[in-house]
Symmetry: D3
Subunit: 315 residues, 6 copies
């Protein structure tokens, strides 16, 4: 089944209810290779809330994108991959644990059908639910984690274990991520405790700070990611606050001093050798974007590059 | 066929790609009584442009609305009427005449199937296309026209006959509206020529200015509309600039000094005795709404009240 | 203890960290008659989130207000009442039940000290926590509830009992509100079920819809409220969506067609004979206000009018 | 000399650098009856600043307005009055006294040439400079003052005599306004001191609060203004905060609970019998308007109505 | 004739109706070397519309700029070049072909008078009209085209030949551009068809993608442009979407991953050896800029750098 | 006295009235090493005004920051330095000279108590007042000045000596800065006069343009600053327009083409060897920030880095 998106040379991009890249809305999961799914929960957000509106904001800007990726040999992503937009998981706003359960269930339905999920958050706590669903099929995962924060705290407000600040400690504890084959990229900024970064290392993750990205270079970074994750199914999670607030102002916890959009896309286009079984882009919050909606556009572009990465492997 | 909208007590309103009032997206026209259709053309706009984004903005706020209308006997609109969202007509941006042709064609498909169209503009020029499609089936129509401007100019820039300033002169000339059974409501503000209002009277329309609405009262206005249109199929067109800019800032040509949202809805809820065969709400432009999107919400509410009007008659 | 606010004729209003009406920040509860407390939880919000930023937004606009109220005999509110801003309750974002517990605890500390709490929300679910704290001291309360929605649903998403849609059913069940001496004012708009309004009547509340407010007149409404609540301690809760979105765009679930700001303040200024033991203003969300922040200003004004009401009784 | 504005039926309103109502920019004062002049000073603003951008914001929205006024007998204002836009007075930002001097000088140039000035502020302190210039030719003036505040304080921050809070005390002291033939309309809201209103009465002004406007009715108000000012040249000053923040959010010191735009324009259209020798509209600040720029549109409309008032008298 | 702009050390920049860099508005074309002209058409825009408001937005921010350019030997541009702002071409909104005709006519008037036009768009389709006017005098032109898209499509919606997606194919077909001496710089992002870039090469253009700009370096790029265009009159067109959306969010079709503002200006300041006979900056749309209006500022700066380029050659 | 900020892992950052980095509000100056003070004057602003709201905007975003700085050896700044937020100096809006006096007085109170002031502007004219207060104790200061403009003009509008364009000429004239040990960094863009930069050199300052920053490299720049200022107490002033408008749109006089946020922070983190006795960050104006408030966040981050610089020296 190869269903192509609406052709934006025939029908203006503003026509019709926007799905991701104008893909068809799935009425069945049958025959799909990959599916975009909205995961509109922000119950895990300790600061700015509103990422529940992220999936539709990203969809609205994604109509700008075109199906052919020149950075991976001019492949037409949707000729390589049967893709669809499957809508959103339901959630229970204000109930973090129940929301994660619902998200896990929705993602599991995709994974069970052999579909690679491309999630749109939502705050970063949702990734734990995705990891649970994906690991249930593929076993412990290699995590490739772009973010300016490690999100490996133990507890958050009220001693709660589940929040946008804790998923990647929980994932290790639950055995659904193999930290020794996982890597966190982009950490920067001031810290709560002197152990903010070492706590990730202690969990077994490899860590590359923003400064180190520029020290070692993008090509070496891509190679390090490939080497780190070799031989294991990969889940790639991309927190929009990896990028500098100039290019991604609309995030929960912006951290000044990150890579530009051009640098970010260069890194993603250099990624190679990943056995991608799931991915997401999280923390885009349209309430904090200006009228240009550049965060949503960049989030959509990031997801499209990850689709191209999968398509290039599958082709 | 009675397909109900997504239940917003079960699934949060922010989940899923938004259709009008969370109605199903039609995959077939079979069995529908009424259909919401986006008409995203702003090529007729002489001032502010961007109403091409109106349909999706109105849909996004319409998820707030609920199916039961307490102003017409607590009817569940969607139990009375089989409704769906049929997406948008395609248009040719920058080509006014061709855009009207495409809109006419899309609306005609609905009307031919016996469906009452509920259009979301787009600028006001699109109403001419709708009138052509509806009159083709129902004959010359009684027009009920809410607007702060008459839109009965002869020519606009470049001597062009088709623009948001001219549709209701064209409609009389084309014989698709019966001005003697039609009425324009809400005219106000400064004029280009001393004949701005008399030109509508000369065409045969009845005219009620904003001041007269308050002089005669809302009940008398509703009766006058009913009397004026009696015995003829009615097309109701609602330009959002009928309302004061405080309640509807996001329009092409705002005119200070109009009715409030409460007054506007009161008038619509008093309408009676209309043989409604089509209607639209036009000129909502999200680029000029603040973050609260109150113009889009009011436009959605207006359309929902018109659906309830139809449902109360059909019931 | 009569501590006066910063004098805005001496020090510009933009100087200094803004507290409510530039009141002192309390370092002790001793000697206070009334206290403003922020209750920044939005975990109960089924639609738009972000009311966690409401308390500070309302404070920022409240610096515009002056201490003397000409509608109640030119009283200087802060000479009649020893007031302070006590900061915010802590909350657990994403954990509705725990957040309510913390809010209850913070409000209880005030009530126990004999202080009348003036809460700033937060979403409307927080009122349940306040009612618990206030009723613990004063017994079952007469509720005066301004809102365009009844918030008397039984369950919300995921079958959850606690949300912004349910507090006033819970309050009856918990015996902390006496519905026979309580009243809901301002209901309007489309309904989920035909019983949306009757369910409040079934619980024992008196209900005045928006249409009825204008039918009976503001003076009669104030008298009806006084008669309904006579002889019982009153908690007054004011949801900003009572007001039309033109004057209060920045709310969670705006409902087109409400009273204007002038009408709203007229009603509040006519209130009399209430034994006010607590009150709040909720659902102001600065993310949805335009740069003029008119919702926050109106919310601050509403709270100041309620302070004047208390001061006029206490004087 | 009767120079007509650009015809907006020939040339789109967005074409060309916007002058007030698309009037010609004056290259000479010769032959003009009335002139629009920007007075872009906000050095008198005690709270929100930015009204320096007011004149151009009002001009930008004024292109919406048309030359014929149906509320005063369908007169074409610009056939009755030779009008032009003379640009802006220069000012010295951060130097209140010097800015007033420059404004006085610019307005005096108009008045000396027999031209009625229509000023666009700027904060309200600028009116003192205009009054000085106009009274220098016409003698002590009858002031018609629409505002939610009296602006009759004695001193402001730092004991300074000149600020947006003091001009109408200074004007009495300087003998350029005759308070016994002057009137302040629209006062409302909380007060700094119990004498906030009585201090205006003590100075000799008549005062009509917002509540009283609605008590006595608009027709009676217009008659009272006419009677009060009879026989003396009138300067009319309109502070945009007279209007409710829903319709005029973008002002320095918004005061919730004012008249709507429709009510405001009704009052202005009923004014009669005034010997208008100067007027202004002040305190519109585009930084606080939303994208719809409704405050600027209303300010432009107010000024256009005042032009029609003058034209109707001169005709 | 050397008329200097208003001196921003004497008169604040916010005073007066803004022309480009506060230049005089031309009342005659006599003696001018260069003229800024607004070309406010957006009828060619396939996605975001509103660039009709671009010229005045760019003018408003251009008042920030000063006359001396330190990157080209501290020349005072306006002592070298007699410049003026000649206002806007008229257009026919919604009628693409007629709008191009009017723009061509207005630009031709300048070119015929020996004036170098500096156009401010408007969408990119307007450049075709400028090229027609300029080539009519100077013969086929060398095009230097900064853009993230090639705009060399054959047809767009409805099979229409004229749109913002097609001008640089039309220009080749019409023989007004010499592709063998022309160059497109900055292409990037996803593609509609695998031939998106090769179609430009097939037409004869040289193409430098965004990636290649950084591979070869800015100095080499400037040399390549000089070599490519040597010996032929040059028209330089600058689409604001060349720049990354972080620095230019307010464009019709933003493309994530472009050069920064600093990099962009560095490239422009290195340009040399061009026989510049016309240029424009297009696609700035203030509706999508935030309150900082950084896209408009950058567009103004780009145009000012091009003026300095011309001045440095002419001097 | 080592008072720590509110712990953002215990209490959500949105709880409570925001002070800088959630530091305690000082009730006494006793025992403090450093203090954050708001200096909310914009009376010196020649273009965009509103920086009076800068201090509270910077505070609101500063709650994102954490106490430990990994770029200077993981020091906990607030364990090294006893810090507090001492609120704002009072000012006299519209009276530049008086405002400077009040600011000087407030800063002097800190300096006299041995406290290093960390000022938040306000427009850049306020730095003169700070320099006066600091030099009164420490003698003539070495100025480290980050800015895209030199601010060394002699006079501004109306021949006034005090404005945001003149402080660093005044400071030399007053003998409170030693230009031979001072340095201006970041100048760029178009000039009023060919002497714009040489006038700084003539005064004795060292100057590094934006282009030169990148030519010599960040490490060499930091060394040059250290060498220049060696042996003298340093006041560091940071104008937010040093940064490119993409990363800092909300400034008075944005100048396209500056360093990114990442580059800016890299430079600050390389600073060393400075005997810091005072510093400020100025010209952040929230009215021009989008909803993401990235300028305010970056301003807060800059100030936090300067605190870390001081802490690293003091430790």
């Amino acid at each position: 089944m190869n269903v192509l998106p609406v052709n934006s040379l025939d029908t203006p991009r503003f026509c019709g209810v926007p799905t991701f890249m104008r893909l068809p809305q799935a009425t069945s999961l049958h025959g799909l290779d990959a599916a975009v799914i909205g995961l509109p929960s922000d119950s895990g957000a300790p600061f700015r809330t509103g990422a529940r509106f992220g999936p539709n904001a990203v969809r609205a800007m994604s109509v700008m994108l075109r199906p052919i990726n020149p950075y991976r040999g001019n492949i037409n992503v949707f000729e390589k991959l049967a893709c669809a937009d499957v809508g959103d998981a339901s959630v229970v706003p204000g109930y973090e644990v129940e929301s994660l359960d619902r998200i896990e269930e929705s993602v599991a339905a995709l994974v069970t059908a052999g579909i690679v999920p491309f999630g749109i958050g939502g705050d970063h706590s949702i990734t734990l639910a995705e990891l649970r669903a994906v690991a249930a099929r593929h076993g412990p995962l290699a995590l490739v984690h772009f973010d300016s924060h490690s999100d490996t705290w133990d507890k958050y407000f009220g001693g709660k274990a589940y929040s946008a600040g804790t998923p990647f400690r929980r994932a290790v504890e639950e055995g659904i991520v193999t930290p020794g084959q996982s890597i966190q990229i982009g950490l920067r900024g001031s810290l709560f405790q002197a152990t903010d970064i070492s706590q990730s290392l202690d969990l077994g993750y490899d860590v590359v700070t923003t400064d180190e990205i520029f020290d070692i270079g993008f090509k070496a970074l891509a190679d390090r990611i490939a080497a780190r994750t070799a031989g294991r199914p990969v889940f790639l999670t991309f927190d929009m606050d990896f990028v500098d607030p100039a290019a991604a102002p609309a995030v929960q916890t912006p951290e000044a001093g990150g890579p530009s959009a051009r640098e970010t896309l260069q890194i993603l286009r250099l990624l190679h050798g990943l056995d991608l079984v799931g991915c997401d882009v999280v923390e885009a919050n349209p309430l904090y974007d200006g009228p240009g909606q550049i965060t949503a556009l960049l989030a959509a572009t990031v997801l499209a590059e990850l689709m191209a990465l999968l398509a290039s492997v599958r082709g």
